[in-house]
């Protein structure tokens, strides 16, 4: 993007204007996500920077909203903070329970989506797969069909089959929503997969199972893991299906946030948001590492 030496004045002006515009767009992309982090440490129940915060006065900041995440819903929040207080947090705090539910649902939905999705991606990336295009379109469709339509359909289906108000029902639904991501990432890893490697293994006397676990599996593992992360994030962020098919006491983090935003938005929501942003930064870093690892492994394999 270097400016050529022969550029005239107008081009120079445009070039710098262009860079400024791009910076502004990057700011538009990232600022809303980062702004919640300092605001979540607000000592006052406001959603804007107070005078004290702007002058970096330590009394303007506090971790009270993070504390509220623990104490909200507890039996005895005022008790001294010993082991029984923490036991109370673990058993009764609303946000902690929501986090537990989200983790359980996300974990099983991810396992289900990744196992089925990886298997299917292996089949889909074979050249001899019949009806490839149509089947692929069906398997990706949960990502394209609006979530409200999926939730409506599941509501009718679950109320007839008795899956409504069960964790099993939510896990099935979340697995369905995560499957397209697994399919996309794993098939992307399998594009350019060197099939002569598996043939070489077979030629050297490995049976199909050994070939799969020693050759194919390690090569698609980065794709499968990033697919699994996508599936987990999808489940961890999903609120509409939970609102439609879950029982009232089956709270998850997004549902708790949804209720919090709709009723009365308090800075505690910003504290949760900050934690989620930190988690997504960690996930992004993981994905990037996996991508590099995958590229490195491909680089080692004979093209």
């Amino acid at each position: 993007m270097a400016l050529p030496k022969h550029a005239d004045t107008l081009e120079r002006i445009w070039h710098y204007a262009y860079i400024v515009i791009c910076c502004l767009i990057f700011l538009f992309l990232i600022a809303p996500i980062l702004i919640v982090i300092p605001l979540s440490f607000n000592a006052e129940p406001y959603f804007t920077f107070t005078q004290k915060m702007l002058s970096l006065d330590p009394t303007g900041f506090s971790a009270r909203w993070y504390d509220l995440l623990l104490t909200f819903g507890m039996n005895n929040a005022e008790a001294p903070r010993d082991s029984s207080w923490w036991a109370d947090v673990w058993a009764n705090a609303a946000w902690v329970n929501a986090a537990k539910n989200s983790m359980i649902i996300g974990f099983f939905a991810t396992i289900l989506a990744t196992a089925l999705g990886t298997l299917a991606a292996l089949g889909l990336s074979r050249p001899e797969m019949p009806f490839r295009r149509a089947i692929m379109a069906i398997l990706i469709s949960p990502m394209i069909v609006p979530i409200i339509i999926t939730a409506t359909g599941l509501f009718f289906f679950y109320s007839k089959t008795g899956l409504a108000n069960t964790y099993f029902g939510i896990i099935l639904a979340h697995a369905t929503l995560g499957i397209p991501f697994v399919i996309i990432t794993v098939t992307a890893t399998l594009v350019g997969f060197d099939h002569s490697l598996t043939r070489a293994a077979a030629n050297l006397g490995a049976n199909p199972r050994t070939t799969f676990f020693k050759i194919t599996f390690p090569l698609i593992l980065p794709g499968a893991i990033s697919g699994a992360l996508f599936a987990f994030v999808t489940s961890f962020d999903e609120v509409v299906v939970v609102l439609f098919v879950a029982a009232h006491d089956q709270q998850t983090i997004p549902r708790q946030m949804w209720n919090g935003i709709r009723e009365q938005i308090s800075p505690a929501i910003l504290a949760v948001a900050t934690i989620l942003v930190v988690i997504s930064i960690a996930l992004l870093a993981t994905i990037e590492l996996l991508r590099r690892r995958s590229e490195k492994m491909r680089g080692m394999s004979p093209a």
């Binding site: 809303p32 919640v36 089949g123 089947i135 499957i179 509409v240 997504s280």
Partner: protein, 443 residues
């Protein structure tokens, strides 16, 4: 099938001497063509078996529920069958009046026989305590009639002949021909009436399809608004994404990978978090307004209302969908060879002409992919409009949710959802034809 025939490599082991009986054969004496076909169909089956578990899973947990929704959109047994809440026992109701409807053509003035049938039906309805659900069903097509049914059911035991007068005594509305037309429409559990309602149409007393009065028409307006807002958001994401994608595509990889974080972090961050951030920023007491007031650009009582209206929906959705435009554009722009533009410049084109005639046409596939994806996602958006949209920033999805959770008119919700689904599937098909589902990339 034997193991040798199953192995595609077996086909390679041609028996060199096997030319005798017309054509080549494999080592075990089978014709080569047949062995190859068998091996191929085996490979096909093996590939299909790998996909089968997931396909069944998605059919059961996704396609089948969607099918149920489609069924619900044309099926509502509120006027024909009563399901007991506890025993789940199904009882046909309104049998006599439904027989009367079958015997008389639409538009017939209800006579004493009709009222007698209705009065008898009300006895059963009262006994089953089903007046509420029957009334609700009629209420979907003609608002304000639910109480008429509960009231009449309470008095059903006291009804004496002549039934016409007795019922008109309870409420004059029983003489309304429109009410009878609505009951006739509901007398079959399968009906297209919910689709009519979803596009602001209704049936008059003669059973003809007419437009609903303007003050009650709502859905067409909302479909149009959803389309227009989605188009606007798609356009805005395009305007914002193009320069950024171009910058990312022309920078050396080590810089662009770093800047890519700015695109991917929003993509990975929870939707609710991003929506919450926009609420914080856009509130009338929020960061943007405060900054503008502090900078002297606004007076304290002149704060801009940017949330709970269309502006909020547009800003937040543009931000949320922007990565879906940047990523396809980037993947198309990256491989574009810069020497084409240089060649155009050296042949005398101005930088604008070089961009317009050489660079831009090469990015059109990416624009198509991104725009179609963003549009598909925007049309069905629910969470963000529900939280920041207020009254006039609502999209069609929000109305579906309203009918599912608040008004409990599930059949109408299903009909609206089916119309939306039909539009989305059309766009999805288009996307698959033009771009191909395989080319969908995530980060």
């Amino acid at each position: 099938m034997t193991e040798t025939a199953a192995d595609p490599h077996a086909a390679v082991a041609i028996n060199a001497g096997g030319v005798s009986s017309g054509g080549l054969t494999t080592a075990d004496g089978r014709p080569l063509k047949a062995a190859l076909a068998a091996a191929q169909s085996h490979a096909k089956r093996r590939a299909f078996l790998l996909v089968l578990p997931l396909l069944l899973f998605v059919l059961i947990t996704f396609v089948f529920p969607i099918g149920q929704m489609l069924h619900q959109s044309v099926y509502n047994p509120g006027f024909t069958t009563n399901v007991d809440v506890i025993t789940k026992e199904e009882t046909p109701i309104m049998v006599n009046v439904r027989n009367w409807f079958d015997a008389n053509p639409p538009g017939t003035e209800p006579d004493e026989a009709a009222f007698e049938a209705l009065a008898k039906d009300f006895l059963l309805v009262d006994e089953l305590r089903a007046a509420g659900s029957v009334g609700t069903r009629i209420n979907y097509d003609m608002s304000g009639t639910r109480s008429l049914f509960t009231k009449t059911a309470r008095k059903a035991e006291d009804l004496q002949p002549p039934y016409k007068e007795a019922m008109l005594d309870i409420d004059e509305e029983w003489g309304d021909p429109e009410l009878w037309a609505v009951m006739r429409g509901a007398s079959s559990a399968y009906t297209a009436n919910f689709y009519l309602a979803a596009i602001d149409l209704t049936r008059n007393a003669q059973g003809e399809i007419v437009k609903v009065p303007d003050d009650r028409s709502l859905y067409i307006k909302l479909f149009v608004r959803t389309l227009l807002l989605s188009l606007l958001i798609t356009f805005l994401t395009f305007v914002l994404a193009y320069p950024v994608a171009h910058l990312l595509a022309t920078l050396p990889l080590r810089y662009s990978n770093l800047l890519m974080i700015f695109v991917l972090l929003p993509f990975w961050t929870s939707l609710l978090v991003r929506t919450t951030s926009w609420m914080v920023l856009l509130q009338s007491q929020g960061v943007i307004n405060d900054a503008l007031v502090a900078g002297g650009l606004l007076s304290d009582d002149g704060r801009i209302q940017m949330m709970y209206n269309q502006t909020g929906t547009i800003i937040a959705m543009t931000h949320i969908l922007l990565p879906f435009m940047i990523l396809p554009l980037y993947s198309v722009m990256r491989p574009i060879n810069p020497s084409y533009v240089r060649a155009a410049r050296s042949l005398g084109a101005t930088s604008w002409t070089a961009f317009r005639r050489i660079y831009f046409p090469q990015t059109v596939p990416g624009i198509g992919a991104g725009a179609l994806l963003v549009f598909i996602l925007a049309v069905g958006y629910y969470i963000t409009p529900a939280l920041v949209g207020g009254a006039d920033g609502q999209l069609i999805s929000n109305l579906i949710a309203f009918h599912m959770t608040k008004s409990l008119n599930w059949s109408l919700a299903a009909a609206l959802a089916s119309i939306l689904l039909a539009g989305i599937l059309l766009l999805y098909w288009l996307y698959d034809r033009l771009i191909g589902i395989d080319n969908l990339k995530l980060g």
